[in-house]
Point group: C2
Chain length 458, copies 2
């Protein structure tokens, strides 16, 4: 019955995705990124601009067009966007006259691809993108900014397994291959990009056969790809390989600037490490300088969960070029394996912190008024659906994970149904503990603790 | 270039929609409604369950399927949802075993209809729905709850023109028509539903020709449709028409209960009035009791912006029936006319409350650190893009609507660039006024005041 590749969450799982999106949004806004949304739908012309026919676009057709005029509606040529970068490039061109550059934007939306579903791949998925785009020239410090902001955003998701934000620079690797005398640097990049999937000796063979390198050159390319440092130590290690090229110098300096610029963030980012990783090439993408990928510990097989980089021409109208730098977080790709394995869940399925018990049907208006006094102070509250015996009403709260039951009386009393503790309370002053006020995200560790403490109290 | 019917907002307009969605979400959660989202995509079988062929469904097809296997992919039969009720009904059936009933949910998502675009109609639009659904029996007090919660949510949107939430009851009008001896009550309802578009005497003629009523009966139906009271006064006015029917009695009692139950909310809901309006019938929809519509003052021509009601069978799997009551707010329909006319806008296009001025390129790390101290206290801050003359940096802030420019020094100083007032400040303690901390929604009245105060200070 469920459609394969179109994930759907239960309310308690939804708590987790909502927490992720709220925290991302908060960090992006603290850094001055403006929120935009674009339609889910773009013209096929826009979607296929970059010739990305491999993206498995979903084309739209009106149901009625089928019956009435066969194929004619196809002329409209609409499809669902498959990422947020292509729509953003169109947005920048369309609204350029009404935007201030450099323009920082974040965009959190779903995208669609008609791919064959497999682990870590979905037909409908949510992405969270940040980009800075400028007119003509985009200063390099924005590359550093993008890395810092996303690292800070990821570290706000403190319930995730450890993340590794890997940074490289296309100029660095292209300069290295050129300095080495590679006849086709792009071919080298494409082969090296398969390192995740193929053993090094098979890569060495392909570097000869496909990219035209001799054995010594191939060996150096593999040595370069092995360099990975949490600081600017990579510069010396590249120098030791003895390759010289102007582009390599530029690339080394840029990558060092990003790694240096992230040092401050790195220090505070529990769970997120930032490192130079010279294997990262971002395949055939249109990046021109800095490139980013991100791995989640224990989930390396799902690939990069957060990727991006610098593109010298995000968009162009022929006269003006808009360079950009950005990074895109695959929210669905990141969360679904954790939710499916039960590694993350919400602490309850409803927002309610309090259930107001209902003594009898005649008391409903009084109970509603009581609930409203709690809500007026920001406490999510519901009133019991029916005037059952109090034991049944407590179980009603228990099944929903609502921590407190409020008993109207003179005076009122409130019970923490986990501990059974009950005390007199006033709806105009009582406040639940902060961690009970709204549903929390529980990670596997917290979950076992929860189970433990339940066992202890029983 | 823009696709007709697919609205897209500039960042400053986006502030308004974000504020609307945040406030709705807050009220819904305060009342214990759980958040769910469903895929944008459903099987065509699901979408066309109710035989709603008139809904102009967008059907999906993979681009590659076009080339490779022609029509064969159609067998997959996927389409975009055209509302949030059909997907919710499918969700309830699919997950019934893992949900607790009565189940309160809110759902805020886009929907799509391949309609011809016109004022107030869009091909892609956002809806905010709340529903309560139960197994087998749903007590009537949830009808009151739904009205109260949506009224409270609407009144939280205090920048909107006055809203009128109109309530009626299908049992009331059906009972009235039956008591009157109408041979086909449904036909009467369909004719009466045209009262917005046709004059009363034309309706009277149709009541005779289509619904088979005599002149006296038609006159009474029109008299009923004229009844509109802010309180339970409608009961007496209906009784005065001298029609008797058991179903009419039930309907009168139910509608009185909703209106009574909303009295408390009504009193506090600045800008939202709730009234019994016996003209409301919700056309051919599948409602069985309470029905809701909502009009916005000055924008009556766009129709109801918030509609819903009670349906005795939201979903059924043959054995179990799930009755529900809900209401759906057309966020896009509501906002677009206000945004397009400039009646609402955001106070600025960026979240930033502060621009940290940059004395020279070498100071960037120090300025970044300074900005980070402000952000750590929740103050959205950006650092100037380039070390231009301070006058230029102030204009950079001005163009973006950023109210404060921070000048690093010993001590630092912060300037309100609207008043020109400048004072020494410490990044660990200075706080902007609450109304400057984040972008605000400005309504036309606020806008003219803003212009006025700018004129005064110049």
């Amino acid at each position: 019955m469920p459609l394969s590749g179109f994930p759907e969450l239960l309310p308690q799982q939804r708590v987790v995705e909502d927490a992720v999106l709220d925290r991302l949004r908060r960090v992006f806004e603290l850094h001055g990124f403006a929120h935009i949304e674009t339609p889910a739908v773009e013209s096929l012309d826009t979607l296929l601009t970059k010739g990305e026919i491999d993206k498995e676009v979903y084309v739209l057709r009106r149901l009625h067009a089928d019956a009435e005029d066969g194929e004619s509606d196809r002329a409209g040529g609409l499809g669902l966007h498959f990422d947020l970068t292509v729509p953003f490039a169109r947005y920048v061109l369309e609204h350029a006259g009404r935007l201030e550059f450099p323009f920082r934007r974040y965009q959190i939306q779903r995208a669609w691809r008609g791919e064959r579903p497999q682990e870590g791949r979905f037909r409908e998925f949510t992405q969270a993108d940040i980009d800075v785009v400028a007119k003509d020239v985009l200063p390099f410090h924005h590359d550093v900014e993008i890395a810092r902001v996303m690292a800070e955003a990821l570290s706000a998701l403190d319930f995730l397994p450890p993340l590794r934000l890997q940074v490289n620079n296309r100029r660095l690797i292209e300069g290295f291959y050129r300095g080495l005398g590679a006849p086709d640097p792009a071919a080298v990049m494409r082969v090296i990009d398969k390192l995740d999937k193929m053993p090094a000796d098979a890569i060495a063979v392909q570097l000869g056969e496909i990219a035209g390198l001799d054995e010594a050159q191939a060996a150096k390319c593999l040595q370069l790809a092995e360099i990975r440092t949490p600081d600017t130590g990579f510069v010396e290690r590249v120098r030791e390989l003895g390759v010289q090229h102007e582009l390599l110098d530029t690339g080394l300096a840029e990558l060092a600037a990003v790694i240096d610029g992230c040092a401050a963030v790195s220090a505070v980012s529990a769970g997120v490490t930032i490192e130079a990783d010279l294997r990262i090439a971002r395949g055939l993408d249109y990046y021109t300088g800095t490139v980013f990928e991100t791995r989640m510990a224990g989930f390396e097989s799902i690939g990069s969960i957060c990727s991006g980089g610098r593109y010298e021409s995000l968009a162009t109208d022929g006269r003006t070029t808009y360079p950009g730098v950005g990074i895109s977080l695959g929210v669905t790709r990141l969360l679904m394996p954790l939710l499916q394995r039960g590694r993350l869940t919400g602490s309850r399925a409803v927002p309610s912190a309090v259930l107001v018990a209902l003594p009898d049907d005649a008391s409903r208006p009084a109970c509603d008024a009581l609930a409203q006094r709690l809500r007026a102070r920001g406490i999510a509250t519901e009133v019991a659906a029916a005037p059952q015996k109090y034991g049944k009403q407590i179980r009603y709260a228990e099944r929903r994970g609502i921590p407190f039951v409020w008993f109207p009386g003179a005076p009122d009393a409130v019970r923490d149904i986990r501990s059974g503790e009950q005390a007199d309370a006033d709806a105009d002053s009582w406040t639940p503990p902060a961690h009970d006020a709204s549903p929390q995200v529980l990670s596997q560790e917290a979950l076992s603790q929860e189970v433990l403490s339940q066992e202890v109290t029983q």
